[in-house]
């Protein structure tokens, strides 16, 4: 791994200025994506700004029908949180299925969505739960946030502070994991809100997307059978070592049905 200058700011504003002053600075949160990438020399930042213990990025609370989770909250903390389990149990389940316990003890919500790995789980929840991403300078709606494979709407020196999720009437996440890494070959979050059903898909394509035909079918009848014969097109989906685009398209319907069934 190439060397870098290490900064441990004491506040969000110090973190923003450390990042602004750096040549090619990067934020370090749980390090569960960035450190592996740096070990393979696929990233070589000049400076690392460590934000994992900033108070402003921590904490879980409910406010006006929304659950708000600090960006530096670990997957393990989300899984264990009574507040999350009460408000949106599907979100605690999703966090509990990320990687392995050691990854969950370090990896964070903010790091996961900033990285926007196409096979990451959290983007499905952020989109299906009408997420809003609060940064040090603005609020970004979920669908504008995830702009492409490993890409987001964040500026280079912008820091995610918290993510707020709409508390749905019911929701569930179903994933077909890669057996080695647990990343999603296909993952589907189904959430029923007063305003309508949202179905968000990860793993299948280059970026998280909504399966709008499935949303319409489920608004008609919220039952797995409503998805019989409803499929996403394989045209834009990923073909790789693990699965062909056709197989992924098939899995999207299967996972969506499982998620609806799990909503109970």
């Amino acid at each position: 791994m190439q060397n870098f200058a290490f900064h441990r700011p004491k506040s969000l504003s110090e973190a923003v200025s450390a990042l602004k002053q750096a040549d090619e600075g990067k934020l370090l949160s749980g390090g569960q994506s960035l450190i592996p990438v740096m070990k393979l020399n696929l990233a070589a930042p000049s400076d690392l700004v460590c934000i994992s213990s900033l108070d402003e990025l921590r904490g879980i609370r409910t406010e006006a029908g929304r659950l708000i989770i600090g960006a530096a909250t670990t997957h393990g903390e989300v899984d264990a949180s009574a507040e999350v389990k009460t408000a949106i149990p599907a979100l605690a389940d999703l966090a509990a299925g990320i990687g392995d316990p050691q990854v969950r003890n370090r990896g964070t919500l903010g790091g996961s969505i900033a990285h926007n790995d196409p096979a990451a789980d959290y983007p499905a929840a952020v989109v299906a739960l009408d997420g809003e991403i609060a940064t040090d300078r603005r609020t970004i709606k979920a669908e504008a946030f995830f702009s492409g494979m490993f890409e987001t709407a964040l500026d280079d020196d912008e820091i995610i502070v918290a993510v707020s999720f709409a508390v749905p009437d019911r929701a569930a996440y179903a994933k077909f994991p890669n057996p080695a890494s647990r990343f999603a070959v296909v993952g589907v979050m189904v959430a029923q809100h007063k305003s309508g059903t949202r179905v968000a898909v990860v793993g299948a394509g280059a970026n998280v997307f909504r399966a709008t035909d499935m949303e319409k079918a489920l608004d008609g009848s919220f039952d797995p059978s409503a998805l019989d014969g409803v499929a996403v097109s394989a045209d834009e989906l990923t073909t790789d070592l693990q699965a062909s685009a056709q197989y992924r398209a098939h899995l999207v319907t299967v996972m969506a049905k499982r998620a609806v069934a799990a909503c109970g």
């Binding site: 441990r8 450190i35 070990k39 050691q102 647990r182």
Partner: protein, 155 residues
């Protein structure tokens, strides 16, 4: 170079490290604690698992500077007064190891599990050990050992 100070297995230690030094490198190369193994460069095998602040983490995926001020425990810190820790004893008793490469990480991970739940089901044990790969045992005896250690802990 940065100076880091932490408690490792109950003892205060300080060392000068480059920021890019991994916690696993500090433990193995500067502190001579080679019980912590490094089995991959993709953060997937779990041979390097240690406890930081009481939680199991992959020491190959954490910088030494991130552990500044922390309480770190490695496999060398488990035995007390020459007595193996109950999880170590159970691995020995139930043949939970063959070559032993994965064992330090397996044990550190299992100890974290048993600190959270004293009576895990077989499913919970297998799920918990998701991040620890073993190329030898086929896992059955590892699960048996963790179950035995859990029983011993409850008695």
């Amino acid at each position: 170079m940065a100076t880091v100070s932490m408690r490792v297995n109950g003892k205060a230690v300080s060392a000068d490290v480059e920021p890019a030094t991994l916690l696993a490198e500090l433990l193995r190369e500067k502190l001579g604690l080679t019980g912590t193994h490094v089995g991959c460069d993709t953060s997937q095998c779990g041979a390097c698992v240690v406890h930081v602040g009481g939680k199991s983490v992959k020491s190959c995926t954490m910088l030494a500077v991130e552990a500044d001020g922390a309480e770190v425990k490695t496999i060398e810190g488990l035995a007390e007064n020459g007595q193996l820790h109950p999880v170590q004893e159970a691995f020995r008793e139930h043949h939970g190891l063959q070559c032993g490469f994965c064992t330090p990480g397996m044990i550190m991970s299992a100890v974290d599990l048993l600190a959270r739940t004293s009576d895990p089901s077989e499913r919970e044990i297998r799920d918990w050990l998701e991040g620890n790969l073993c190329r030898c045992t086929g896992y059955h005896n590892i699960v048996k050992a963790v179950q035995a250690a859990a029983r011993a802990g409850r008695e």
